[in-house]
Amino acid sequence: MNVRNLKAAALVAALGLAASVAVAADEERLPWGAIKAGNKEGTIPAYTGGLPDTTSPPGFKKDSGFWPDPFADDKPLYKITGANVDQYADKLSEGTKALLKRFPTYSVSVYPTRRSVAYPDWVIENMKKNAANPNCKMIKDGLGVEGCFGGTPFPNPKNGKEAIWNMLLAYNKGYSSWTYGDGWYVDSKGNKAMTAQVNNRFQSEYYNPNITAEQFYADGGFYYGQSNVYSGPARSVGEGNLLKKYLDGRPDRQWSYSPGQRRVRQSPDTAYDFPVATSGGVMLYDEIYLFGGQMDRFDWKLVGMQEMIIPYNAWRWTDTPSKEMLMDQHPNPDVMRWELHRVWVVEATLKEGARHVRHKRRYYIDEDSGGGVMDGWDAAGKLSVAIYSPINPIYDKKIARSASSWYYDFNTGVYYHSSLGADRKKGEYYNFDKVDASFYTPEGFARRTAR
């Protein structure tokens, strides 16, 4: 830790978060709204195009479902632990600081910042179109979006809700994906439970390169289709669920399959702070992928930008099996790569009279992608949750992947990994194929499980 950083930390601490937001308005921006230049200290480099789609580190095999770490030779610049956390206080989320103070075994290894995210040309073109299109806007008080298509909708977000929509519509899973992940939680005593083995299919017509914005919105704006079929644990094999989200502001629709009766029924509207059953009570329905619900119960404020140390370029983390990943009280810090990046800071405060277990949330969203970090506080103002959605680009397809998250619950000491893919070694497949429209119907869904 050098003196300059210390001074900066002290300054930020004195002025509060707002001080760190000072960014020159005429700063050159990238099509998705990120600042092109590096920082003054040189600890964040200027953006130079990200990883090219020709990136091919040793061991890389196209369409194998695995992406070796192209920065495997990088060495950490420094390591933050509970002992020196205060020196980096202005660059860490409240959750990260609390974890470092709570566990002497926990650490944050900071690597050189690599702005690895890149987007396909057609997505970049769409981002520019969205920025220039006055009809690309939120509707129904932020419940939906219209006019925007195929790229970051609001490269110059004017408020918190627009910044959240940038995250919800980020190109972080491509147009379609097949992924195979296992959900694990670890309780405060170190007991580990594998609660779900999911075969996940995702598709977003928002990123369908073969349709126009008009065609997309004519169908209501089907931007999120997801089908999960369980292949484990034994008690859950053959169960499944289907989720459809539209941009026109209609409520999300979910269906579930009942083994034995072989029927698909619409599920009740599980939303807001309903805990996901497989998460050990840690993950709430509107916290899937940092945020995955409706914004109506909170007031959203775009605080600005700041520099923050967040999980980034964490391919090794993605490839770590559960045995090595899951330590008794926290995930294995040695497999995680952290970097200093600029993040959009969005604060959500529970509206007067509205009900939710989180009374305040602060999102730190990576300027180059939709991944990032969240802190959540309860009614008493106590830090209750930390969420991390690391960014590990699918470099050969230029997808800013942040498709898996982990959660720490400060009240119960339980932590949860939503999707560990390394145990089954089945890989992840992005923009691999297209399914027909009946795939995301109850019948199409029922065809994929016979139990």
Partner: protein, 559 residues
Amino acid sequence: MEESQSVRRGAGAALAVALAVGSAPTLAFTIDSGSSDVTMSLDTTVRYNAIQRLERREKGLYSAANDESQRFADKGDLALSRLDIFSEFDLNVRNLVGARISAAAWYDTNFPNKVNRDKSLPAAQANFPGGRWPDQTERYYEGPSGEFMDVFGWANINIGSTTLNVKAGRFVWLPGEFLISNGSSFTYGMAPNDGLKTSLSPGASAKETGLPIGQLGLIWQLTPELTLMGQYVAEFRASRLDEGGTFFSAADGGNALHAPFLAAGVPRRDAREGDRGDVGVGIKWMPDMLKGDAVSFWYRKFDDKNPSWANQVFINGGVPEAHAVYAKDIELYGLTYNGGWGAWSIGAEVNYRKNMPLASTGQYSNLPIPGMSRDLSLYGARGNTWHALLSAVSTLNHNMLFDSGSLVMQLDYMRLDKVTDNKALFNGDMSDVAGRCENNEVLRGCGTRDALSAAVNFTPTWQQALPSVDISMPMLFMYGLKGNPAAANAGVLPKESWQFRIGARLEYLSGAYKHQFELTYGTRDGKKGKLPGAAVNSYSGLANFRDRDYINFTYSTAF
């Protein structure tokens, strides 16, 4: 017969045990076939149940007609100590073709060797001469025994832009909107029901409580919005009901299809069963304007899987004998809706059934009876009926009392439109038989024109109440609001009959396992009272179980 049955029994049990033991070392596994195109999985559920009776016998519920059932377990006695194993094997080739086999095995170490008859009653009134259990009872209650459940193959076939899903073999398919019971659903009788599993193995999933029936099932999705469905059933299988002489049946012989005697001097003979050949066709429509909601229409023609006239007494030249009759050729027109309403998921159904078997009564002889039509031995009273259900599910978010909760509700309604055949056998006022059901219809067990009942299932949950332990408190309450259903198995509770269950469930998770422990208290009651001029009480519906409160312990896990 005896021998072949025991061989069959042995084979089934051996299979389930072999599947279970075979899978134990590797646990639940997805077999690595070396090809990502082929997946296989084998999973096994193990469940132990114990049930203890908590209440003393009620005098009015003790007679020659239910002495054996009452004496099966006295207050404080174990009524059940049973192990169930259920194994499932699935094969899937690229979601294009596949097969599934499941098998069940069970053993109740507590089951008595002999029927416990009241020896102070005349021997002639015994429902079980010699105190021997019928084979059926011994096999399904005591075991050790087993059977195959699902055995079918399936394929997804692309025809142009459409996809046809075909299933052939033994399986259960119940695509209705019911959540608690399907008596009011258009799916009534699409597959028989294993009522024994429901009673004897609390905690059994729908995969175990439905009885697979040999059929061809087609789901042909023409467009994302429009789907055609069809069913052809290639065999007859009857639902299983609680057997007489056990804790789970109110009566020794009545409605208990394998007790040798229905009543003193009335032996039970082979049931008059239905035939193969049920057909059903349906169309489901999910138009864009409904935003995810769906409506469907079904036509079915089928034979009843439940005994629609369980206690038919046939006077054959002066000698009475009893038969259970399964009604044939019921026609059904059904409409369903599934969708969302605010935070609720809603299901609704209305169906009209022609030639529906009605609650039938009395005896008949092989002599012609004026005013009766058709073959009495097969028909009983028939009529046209309306059935409707409304089901709803909602979730409750975190509040002061619990972390999360689920609420499941179902309303069941039936209405007798008209009696079409054998009116004189209808056990109701509309039979026009002088004096029958002229008052106290519910207490007399008479079918009424309308019947309505409600069921609510509420489960609050406390997640991580202890490390890796979720605690929940499932509660079930069912109540008859109006009348007594005119159709025998309409799935509507008689007025004032009710059932309440409350449990404490503890789920401990470790690795890929969940160990689930549950303690449940159950109680039932119904309308009870003296009919005009009667010296003793009459009991209707669940009042027959009002002295059988119980406590049930369940442990289950899967690997």
